[in-house]
Symmetry: C2
Subunit: 218 residues, 2 copies
C-alpha cells in the first residue's frame, strides 16, 4: 500500500515544510499579539487599553495587527475569551472540589468561586460582565456559543441543585436568574467601590444571600 502515499518529490516536501514553517511563524506572531494584549489589558484596564500600545510593545507597526485581527473589538474578544477560560476553570474546579450529591454545598462552592474570581480578577470581570457583556454574543465566533452553552449548563445545574433543596414547586427559572443577578450585583458593587465594600463585608453579603435563599430557619 505504499503507493497510496502522496507522491513526494523532494521539491514537494520542501514546499510543504516551508508552508508549515510560515504558518507556524504566523501563529507565533498572532500569539505574541494576544499575549501582549492580555498583559497590557491587565496592566492598564479597559479604558487604558490601546492597539497602538500593543503594537509598540511587540515592536510592530499599528497596521500589522490588522493582518491578524479584524479590529480592536476582535482582539478584545480574544482577551475576554481568556478571561472566560479562567472563569470556567475556576467554576469547574469548585464544582469538583466537593461531593456532587450535596446540592447546597455545591451551590455554595460555586458561588464562592464566582465571587472570588470577581474579586481576584477585576479587570477580566469588568471586561466580561460589566463593560462589554456584548462580547459574549458575538454570534459568528464559535467560542461565543461555547460561553453561552456553558452559562446554560450552569443555570441548569443550579436549577437541579436548588430544586433539590427547595422543592420543584418554586419558580426555578426566576430563582436562578435572580441568583446570578445577586452574585453579579455583589461583585459589581465590590468592584466599583472597593473602599466601601471590603472583602469581609462582601463575604457577609454572600453568606446572607446563601442563608436567605437556601437556609430553612428564619
Amino acid at each position: 500500500m505504499r503507493k497510496d502515499k502522496p507522491p513526494s518529490t523532494r521539491r514537494e516536501r520542501l514546499q510543504e515544510r516551508s508552508r508549515q514553517r510560515r504558518e507556524s511563524q504566523k501563529q507565533e506572531l498572532r500569539q505574541a499579539i494576544l499575549d501582549a494584549a492580555g498583559e497590557l489589558f491587565l496592566a492598564h484596564g479597559y479604558t487604558g487599553f490601546s492597539l497602538r500600545q500593543v503594537a509598540e510593545h511587540i515592536g510592530y507597526a499599528p497596521g500589522t495587527i490588522y493582518l491578524y485581527f479584524e479590529d480592536k473589538d476582535d482582539l478584545l474578544f480574544h482577551v475576554a475569551d481568556e478571561g472566560f477560560r479562567r472563569f470556567s476553570h475556576a467554576q469547574q474546579q469548585a464544582a469538583a472540589e466537593r461531593t456532587h450529591d450535596e446540592p447546597l454545598k455545591r451551590i455554595r462552592a460555586l458561588a464562592e468561586a464566582y465571587v472570588d474570581f470577581g474579586l481576584e480578577n477585576p479587570a477580566y470581570y469588568r471586561l466580561m460582565f460589566i463593560e462589554r457583556p456584548d462580547l459574549m454574543f458575538r454570534s459568528h465566533e464559535p467560542q461565543a456559543r461555547a460561553w453561552l452553552s456553558a452559562l446554560d449548563d450552569y443555570q441548569e445545574a443550579f436549577k437541579t441543585a436548588a430544586g433539590a433543596v427547595l422543592g420543584e414547586s418554586s419558580d426555578l427559572l426566576a430563582l436562578s436568574d435572580l441568583w446570578w443577578a445577586a452574585l453579579h450585583g455583589i461583585v459589581a458593587l465590590a468592584n466599583s467601590m472597593p473602599f466601601l465594600y471590603d472583602p469581609p463585608r462582601v463575604k457577609r453579603m454572600l453568606n446572607t444571600a446563601l442563608i436567605r435563599f437556601f437556609d430553612q430557619p428564619r
Copy 2:
C-alpha cells in the same frame, strides 16, 4: 435709617445692572452647555459622548467649554447629577405613594421604582452605577456628598423597614447591602442583555427576590 443703604449713584447702579446681566448671560451659556450635554448623552450614550459634539451643537469652539467646566469629567459629573436628581425624585415619589407604616409595601414600592428607573433610563443608570460610579465620590463637589448621604438615608430606611418585617436579630447591614446588590444585579443584567431579560422576566426576578427576602412561608 436710610443712610445705611449703599450710596447708589446712577453710575453705580448701571455698573451693578451690567454686572448682573453679564453674570446671567454666563449662567445661560453654562446651562445651554448642560442641556446640550444631557441631550447628546442620552442620544449617543456614554461611549459616544464627546465634548466637541457638545460644542458644535451649541455653536461654540471646543475650548469654550473649558471656560465653564473643568474638563470632560466635570461636565459628565453634572450630567450624572441630573440623573441622580431624577432617581431620587422617583424614589421619593414611590415612598410617598403608599402608607409609610407598612414596611413591606414600602420596600416593594421602592424596589419597583428602582428597577423601573433602571429600565426606563438605561443611559443614566449606566452612567451613574455601571460605567462611572466613581462620579458619586467626587469629594470636592458638594452634590457628591448629598448623593452619599441620600444613599445612607436610603439604607437606613431600608434597615428599619426590614427590621420591622424580619426582626432586629438579622444582620441588617449585610441584608441591606445585599438588597442593593440584588437590585443592581437585576438592573445591570437587564440593561446589558435586554434581549435575554425582557421586562416580564425582570419582573419575575424582582418578585422572586421580594418573596425570598421577606415572605414568611417557605
